[in-house]
Symmetry: D2
Subunit: 317 residues, 4 copies
Amino acid sequence: NGNAVGGQRKSCWYEEEIEENLRWCFALNSILHTGASQYQDIQLLDTKPFGKALVIDGKLQSAEIDEFVYHESLVHPPLLSHPNPKTIFIMGGGEGSTAREILRHKTVQKLVMCDIDQEVVEFCKSYLAVNREAFCDPRLELVINDARAELERREELYDVIIGDLADPIEGGPCYQLYTKSFYEFTVKPRLSKGGIFVTQAGPAGIFSHTEVFSCIYNTLRQVFSHVVPYSAHIPSYADTWGWVMASDFPLMLNADELDLRIKLRIKGENRYIDGKTFTSASTLSKAVRNSLDNETHVYTEGNARFIYGHGTAYKHK
Amino acid sequence: NGNAVGGQRKSCWYEEEIEENLRWCFALNSILHTGASQYQDIQLLDTKPFGKALVIDGKLQSAEIDEFVYHESLVHPPLLSHPNPKTIFIMGGGEGSTAREILRHKTVQKLVMCDIDQEVVEFCKSYLAVNREAFCDPRLELVINDARAELERREELYDVIIGDLADPIEGGPCYQLYTKSFYEFTVKPRLSKGGIFVTQAGPAGIFSHTEVFSCIYNTLRQVFSHVVPYSAHIPSYADTWGWVMASDFPLMLNADELDLRIKLRIKGENRYIDGKTFTSASTLSKAVRNSLDNETHVYTEGNARFIYGHGTAYKHK
Amino acid sequence: NGNAVGGQRKSCWYEEEIEENLRWCFALNSILHTGASQYQDIQLLDTKPFGKALVIDGKLQSAEIDEFVYHESLVHPPLLSHPNPKTIFIMGGGEGSTAREILRHKTVQKLVMCDIDQEVVEFCKSYLAVNREAFCDPRLELVINDARAELERREELYDVIIGDLADPIEGGPCYQLYTKSFYEFTVKPRLSKGGIFVTQAGPAGIFSHTEVFSCIYNTLRQVFSHVVPYSAHIPSYADTWGWVMASDFPLMLNADELDLRIKLRIKGENRYIDGKTFTSASTLSKAVRNSLDNETHVYTEGNARFIYGHGTAYKHK
Amino acid sequence: NGNAVGGQRKSCWYEEEIEENLRWCFALNSILHTGASQYQDIQLLDTKPFGKALVIDGKLQSAEIDEFVYHESLVHPPLLSHPNPKTIFIMGGGEGSTAREILRHKTVQKLVMCDIDQEVVEFCKSYLAVNREAFCDPRLELVINDARAELERREELYDVIIGDLADPIEGGPCYQLYTKSFYEFTVKPRLSKGGIFVTQAGPAGIFSHTEVFSCIYNTLRQVFSHVVPYSAHIPSYADTWGWVMASDFPLMLNADELDLRIKLRIKGENRYIDGKTFTSASTLSKAVRNSLDNETHVYTEGNARFIYGHGTAYKHK
C-alpha cells in the first residue's frame, strides 16, 4: 500500500519507567512468551542491548547478559565467607539463577528454594535454558509457599539463608520479609552456628541508596553483630545495586582467602566475583558510607519505607 | 529479584516516525512474525490500538481494524463507476486485501495481481487470514514480476487497472510507475474502452496533500480527460489518505446510482464506501482543492517529487 | 567531558497519550511558557511539526498551524446559516481563537465570551499574538464565570450560542454542559428567534465517533428540531473532529449561498471553510451516519458517557 | 477547546540514544537555553530527574546533581597523588567544572584551561552559576585554542595535565589527543618532575569498558611507567565511567594519606572522593581487570577505536 518504505528498523521497544521521571528503553527483537499468574504478569522478551529479559509486572527482573553480576554477588560472598556451607535456603528466587550459582558450590548438600508463585517458577523452568540444569539438580528441593510460613514451619537449620525477594513495597506483603522482627524471630533462629544471612537490598547508587538500601542495612544492624553492605553496577538496571550480608559471627572477607576458596569450592569459573572485586564492592563510596552510618530508620511491621512504582501487591516471595 | 513489581503493563511499543519530527506509537501485544525478502523487511505485529499490523521496512502498511477504509476506497469507486468491470489488473497489492475487495464484485471474471516481492506475498498468504479466501479464488492470477514489465508484456486489455504501490520515492524505482510517460504509454494502452485507472495517491491531509497527492493528480490530468481525486481519514495512518481515478470516459459518480450498483454487484456489505461517503470523499476541502487546481508539477522520469523517509529503494510493485 | 558528541539533534519531545495504547509525539524547539491556575496546568510549547501548541493538563488544545480548521469549523457554519447574527455567546473559548473568528463577521455587534479560568485567559492574551486583536475588540465582553451560571443570570437573547468546552468528562463538571436538561432549560431559552446553537463534539473518526460525538448528536436531537453534525480531520489531533449545530428553525446549508454569505459578511479570507468544504464535512461516512442514526444514549445529569484520560475535574467552561 | 483535560503532566522529555538500541529519557521542566557554535549545538535543559543538564550535539555532557562524581574523580586523585601541585593544564574543560575542582586546591598557583570552542565556554560562563566563581579566579588563564597546538606552543612545565576531552571518535580530531605519539611527544615533555597526567577514559562498565577504556589504558602503559585506571558509576550517564592516571613516578594512593591531604589541601568538603572511595574506584572488577591486562590495542594516528554515535567531527578540545 501507499504508506510504504523506510529503513527505520528499530521500531519495537521495551520501555520501563525506572522512576516517575526517568525511562529506560531497549530495542526489541521479539516478545518470546507472555504469561500471567494469580500474582503477576510475566514476559520473556528478546532485547537487542541485553539479550533475553525476564519482565514481571512491567519491571525488568533480569537480563541474559548481565544477570550473572546480580546472582554471583548475591550468592558467592556469603557462601565463601562461611567455612563450610552445606544447607541453604532461598526465599524467592523462582527464576532459578540463584539456585544455579549456589549449586556450583561443592560443599552444598541441600538447597531449599521457596517461591510463592508457581507460574513464575514453571515459566522460568520452561524458558530459561541457562537454569535448566539447576532445576534438575537432586540437591534442590523446590517448595511453593510463602517464605515466612515455610521458614516458620521448618525445624532444620541452614548455613546460609538468602533473600532473593522484591524490594519492600507499599501495600505489598514483601516488606514483612525485611522487618526487624522477621529477621530476629524467623530468620535468625533458623541459622546454624556460624550461619550467614544475605539479602538483595535494592538500588545502591549515589542517590538511590537512600530508597531502601540504607534502611535494610540499618535494620539488619539491629539484629546481627556483623553486617556487611556491598554493591555493584548492573547495566540493564541502569543503576548500582546493593546486597547486605549479616551474621552473629565474624565474616571472612580477605581477598586472597576468597580467591583460594573460589578455586577450591566452586565448579567452573566465576564471571564477576573474585577477591578484589568483592573488596571493591564492599568498600562503599563516601556519600553512601555516610548515609548508612547515619541511617536511623528501622523497618518494622507498621513502618515501612518504599521505592517507586510499587503500588501493586507483589507476592513473589 | 530485587528490581521487581509494578503495575505498568504497557511496556512494549511499536514506534514509527511519520515525519522527521513526528512519532506515532502503538502499544504492542506481541510481535507475531518477522521475515525479510531481497527487497525489504517484513513484520506482522499485534498492536493494542489497531489489531494486527503489517509493517514493511519500519513503515505501517495496513492495520487490521481500518485497512477496509483504504482498500474499499481504492477498489470500489472505480469498479462501481465502470458499467461492467470484468477484467482487472493490480500493480502491487501483495498483501491481498485489494484482491479481496475486487473479488467481491460479481462482474469480475479475471483478476491479475502483479507484485514484485514473492516473500511479501507468501508472508501475507500465510499470516493474513482475512485474505486467505481471496488468494484461493480461481479468478485470481498471481504474477511475481515488475508491474511495468508485466503490463508491457501482456496484450489483453483491462476494464480497471489499479495502482496499489508505494509512494514515489527518492532513489527508488516506484516513482517510474507514477510518471506521465508510464500512464500514457503503458497504462492507457492496456485499458479497454470505458476503462478506468485508479491509484493510491499518498497523504491528502490539509498540509500533507502537497507531498505527492497534488502532483499525482496533476500528472494524470495531463493524460486522461476525466480525473477524480478523493480522500479519507485513516486512523492508523494518523492522516487523511488520497486516491485518484482517471479515464478518458465520463466517470459515474452519482450517489444514488452508486448505492444501487453496490446492492446489485457487490457480495456482502461494504463497511466504508457508499454513495454519500464517496460524495463526501470526492468533495475536497477548499485548501486542497486550491492546491490541486494550481499544481503545475508533472512527474516525469527525470523529475520526481518525494515524501519523507523513503531513502531505501522499494520495489514492492 | 567525555560523554560528548553526536548529530542526534531531535532530543526533546512532547508526548501525548491520545488513548491508553496510543501515543503522539512532536519534536520540540522549546518550552515557551508554563503556568498553572486553580483548575489546570498550562503550557505553551514550540513544536517542530505543528508550531506553537497550547497544552492544558498534558492535553493538546490547539496548534498554531491547524487551529484554523477547528475554529473556522466551530464558528462559520452556524453564523453563516443564520440570516443575520448580531449577538453571540461563547461558553469557554478562553484561548481567544473562537472570538477571533466570530469578530471577523461584520454582522456581529456583541460577543460575550465566558470562561471560568482567568489564568488561562490571561496566559493566552499574553502569549498568543494571533488573537491579540480579538481580545481588544470593543464588541467583546469577557466574563470570568461558570458558563451555566452566567447564561442563567443573563436575560438577553443570543443569535448564536457556541460551546467551546472540554469534552464531557468523568468526575468533571463539564458534562453538565452537554446534558439534555442544560440544552433544554438553559441554552434554548437564551436563543433569539432563528437562533442557532453549536458545540464542539469530540472525536468523530471512523471508530472514535462513538466516544461522545454520537451521544452529543443524539442528545441535541431530543431538544432541537434541526440538528446537523459535521466533521473534519485535524492533523495535530491525529483524528477527525466533530461539531454539531442545532436549531428549532431550518438551517441554511446550500453551498453556493454559503459562499455568497462568506463573501458578503466575513472580513479577510477563510482558510478552511467554504460551501463545498462544508458540504463534504456535513456528509458523514456510512459507518458514522449509521452510528448516529442508531444512537440511543442521551446525556443526562446522572448518566454521562466519557472519553479517555479525563480523570481530573476540568472546569475550563 | 474540545481536546482538553488530563492529569498526564510529564509530557515533555529529553531522549538520548546511549547506544543504537538503548534509550535514556528524562522528563523535562524546561529548555533553558539553546545555542550553536561553529563546532556544535549546545542546550541547557532543566530535567526532572537530574536537574540542569548540559547537552552538546544531542549528547548529555553533565548533569547538575551528579557532575561532581565525574569532576571530583577527574581532578582530585591526580592532584592528591602529587606531592605539591602548583601548575595545572586542562585540555578541554570548557564547562568550567574541572577548573572549579582544581581551584579548590590551595597548592594551585596557576591553571591554564584550553578549550577550542569559545561559544561553549561563553555559554557555560553565562548559564552555569555553580562555576561562576571559578571563571573569575585570578589563577585561571583561559585560552581558546586547539589543546595540542597550545601545549606544543608553550614552554613551561605543568605538575598535572588533565584531559577533559570527548572520547576518541571516528572522523573527529579528538582521537589524536589519545594517541601514543601525542602522549609521548606532546604531553610527557610538558610534565614537570613528578608530574602526573590524567584523562577521562570513556565508559568503564562491565561490558562498555572495551569500547575505549581498555585501549586508553593500554596506550598510556606504553608511554608511562605507572598507570592507574579507576572508575565510578554516574547515574545520569546510565553507566560506570573511567579515568586513567599516568606518571613516570610512583603514584601515592594510600587511603589514609589521601584523606590527610584532602583535609590539608582542599577548600570545602568533597562530596565524592575520599581515601576509601578511591581505593574502591581503583580496584576494578575481575572482568574489567582481565580485559585491561589483556588489551593489545594501542591508539596511533592511523589506528583509532571508536564508540557509538560519534559520526560528527567534534573539536571541543
